[in-house]
């Protein structure tokens, strides 16, 4: 069991070590793809075993329950797509002179390190270690965001590191306060930050200190999840990063940070009741949705458009978490998985458009569907997933979240969220059709499509359709995660 818990962390670390030694090669890039697949397989193998409850490994340091397994599946799936596409993406950049061997080497080292940090974040049983892992994702991704050494990329990297580090520092302060409360509730110093200890002692935690801690943790992990008020780094970083990195940051990192918040919520709700964090999440979620929808309307850059769509979805996820019922939490997890795959498709396709046009302006791109069938279809499917069209899975998850909100007497919130989502919907459709349809301009460049990017896109399309038709055994997993998180009926 311990081995299975270690694989998702050690496999990517092995790939990092290999890439550090050998530089950017077919071999090291392929090992990274297999490491991402290993995360996925380990997650799948753990899925059945955790339904009865959490399993622990390496003493009490690691923990696998249905939430960790769900997140491992998201990391593994999007990780496989993104690392696979990276092979062709970076090779192409090397050929065209958009990057040099040194930058490619650094990319090869940092990408699997990023995966390992996310895997540790979802598997940690100690919320202090979880914090260390989340902050490590910031450090690992800093130079990935700055991979293209342009002025804009440098600006985005600086803002990203500074804003996220400050945000996440607040989460550390919250963790320290929770540790303080846990010690005073009688926990031993070695185990006071363990999730199982905290859950057991939650009713005895001092409510005033816990309230302070919960507020700081919401702000801190909210910063990494792209939630208001520390959201300003998101569009810059996600638009400047290389496409496969954008896919990982938008599709997985945001939800990994949010999963940490769900962990915290499961403890805090036992101490303070559900009301405190529900109010916080609703305010933060609605404001995030509002800002994302307004900026989507005026957007002229297609990568920033995708970034704001991620903010929109994280806002919705926060609102679903506020509802807090089993239906809402299970739907939220489906939403996160479907969003991860759909957003990867859209970002990977947009990366090739950017490479062709040397620009990310929506106005620069027309007629994609007639120019490259696969990129066009991938972009269409990605957008269709993101705006929640049936048969794709986000249609089902958004429907369930709506039902959950209505069931939790949050009709006003539901109404406001639906209005904002409609605004976002129309903006995405308008900009998407401008890029995809119509006659291509006569001097349109050919859109490059390296083999591995094509393979990742086809896989992503198949997965999106399959997940839309049936979530299959995953439904069971999401349900069990909701129950284990202590969601109300």
């Amino acid at each position: 069991m311990s081995i299975l818990l270690l694989v998702p962390i050690l496999a990517p670390l092995t790939a990092t070590a290999l890439a550090a030694l050998l530089g950017w090669r077919r071999l090291t890039a392929s090992v990274t793809v297999f490491a991402a697949l290993a995360v996925l397989v380990a997650g799948a193998m753990l899925a059945l075993r955790v339904e009865s409850g959490a399993h622990f490994g390496v003493g009490h340091l690691l923990r696998a329950d249905s939430l960790s397994v769900t997140m491992l599946l998201v990391i593994g799936t999007v990780g496989t797509l993104a690392t696979w596409a990276s092979v062709g993406y970076i090779d192409d950049e090397l050929h065209s002179g958009h990057t040099d061997r040194k930058s490619a080497h650094l990319y090869g080292v940092l990408l699997p390190l990023f995966l390992a940090a996310m895997a540790l974040a979802v598997l940690a049983n100690n919320i202090g270690v979880m914090w260390v892992a989340i902050e490590a994702t910031t450090v690992a991704t800093a130079f990935l965001v700055g991979h293209h050494r342009t002025r804009a990329a440098l600006e985005a990297t600086w803002k990203y590191v500074v804003i996220c580090s400050v945000g996440i520092a607040l989460a550390f302060l919250g963790t320290v306060l929770l540790y303080f409360a846990s010690l005073h509730a009688g926990a031993s110093s070695a185990h006071a930050l363990d999730i199982d200890t905290l859950l057991n002692n939650a009713p005895q935690l001092d409510p005033d200190v816990t309230r302070l801690a919960a507020g700081l943790l919401l702000l801190g992990y909210g910063a990494k999840a792209g939630l208001v008020p520390f959201h300003t780094w998101l569009a810059d970083a996600h638009s400047q990063a290389p496409a496969p990195v954008s896919a990982l940051m938008s599709g997985v990192l945001l939800s990994v940070a949010f999963a940490s918040l769900l962990r915290v919520k499961s403890v805090v709700d036992l101490t303070l009741g559900a009301g405190f964090l529900r109010t916080g999440l609703l305010v933060v979620g609605l404001l995030t949705l509002l800002i994302a929808a307004s900026l989507l309307v005026v957007q002229t850059d297609f990568k920033r458009m995708l970034a704001y769509s991620s903010m929109e979805n994280m806002g919705l996820v926060a609102i679903a978490a506020a509802a807090g019922t089993e239906l809402a939490i299970a739907a939220l997890l489906l939403h996160v998985l479907a969003h991860g795959i759909g957003k990867s498709l859209a970002f990977l396709a947009s990366g090739q458009l950017q490479a062709a046009h040397n620009s990310t302006a929506i106005s620069a791109v027309t007629g994609v569907l007639t120019r490259s069938r696969l990129i066009g279809v991938a972009f269409v499917v990605g957008l269709a997933v993101l705006i929640g069209l049936p048969p794709f899975a986000m249609f089902a998850s958004e429907l369930s979240i709506s039902r959950a909100l209505a069931g939790a007497n949050l009709e006003w919130i539901l109404g406001a969220a639906l209005v904002l989502m409609t605004v976002a919907f129309s903006a995405l459709v308008r900009n998407g059709s401008r890029m995809l349809l119509g006659q291509p301009a006569p001097d349109s460049p050919t859109i490059p499509l390296p083999g591995t990017v094509a393979a990742a896109l086809i896989t992503g399309i198949v997965l999106s359709v399959a997940l839309g038709l049936s979530a299959g055994p995953l439904t069971q997993l999401f349900q069990s995660a909701a129950t284990q998180l202590g969601a109300s009926q």
Binding site: E135, A136, A152, W158, V176
Partner: protein
Amino acid sequence: MMTQATYAGVLDLTVGAFLLAAVLIVWRRELSSIVHLLAWQGAALAAIPLAEGIYRGDAGPIVVGVVVLVLRAGALPVLLLQAVGTADTERRESTPLVNTTSSLLITAGLTILAYAVTRPIIALNPAPATRAVPAAFAVILIAVFVMVSRRRALSQAVGFLMLDNSITATAFLITGGVPLIVELGASLDVLFAVFVLGVLTSRMRRTFGGTDLDQLRELRD
């Protein structure tokens, strides 16, 4: 060995020095003296676990104190000093967004706010160390203020480290420090984050010919 009264006195002194360093950082404009003040603040931070270790006759906090001293009063400030540019315009903070007098007044206001915010913490455990926690919280707020009001890349990095010092100080004061594995992991993260900020600062100097953050205004909606 120390008596409890001596321990409480030493604690007040170190925490006072810790807060004073933060106020002086708000006051000074010369980047190299700001970094030196930060190193002094790191030393004051290290004194908290050192004093506790000597008072209790426990080796654990002393080891932690020595590590903190090496890292926060040595390695990290040195890393930052390397990022201070050699050009004359690069050695000082540019005209600040908030002038010095207002900055100091805001600092005083933040300190009072810190006393209000920390009341539930002191109520839970009114020990001498916990009573000093408002000063550490004041530095948290001052650090955030420094980060939003300064315009040089390096000043923001200093603000970030000050924020980190003050959170670590809070942890030492209210819990005697987080578990070792968390402390080590967090220190490693901070070390790398400062390294990243240092590299970015020198890239910024190469690309923009300076480190004034006002130049970062290409990306906006």
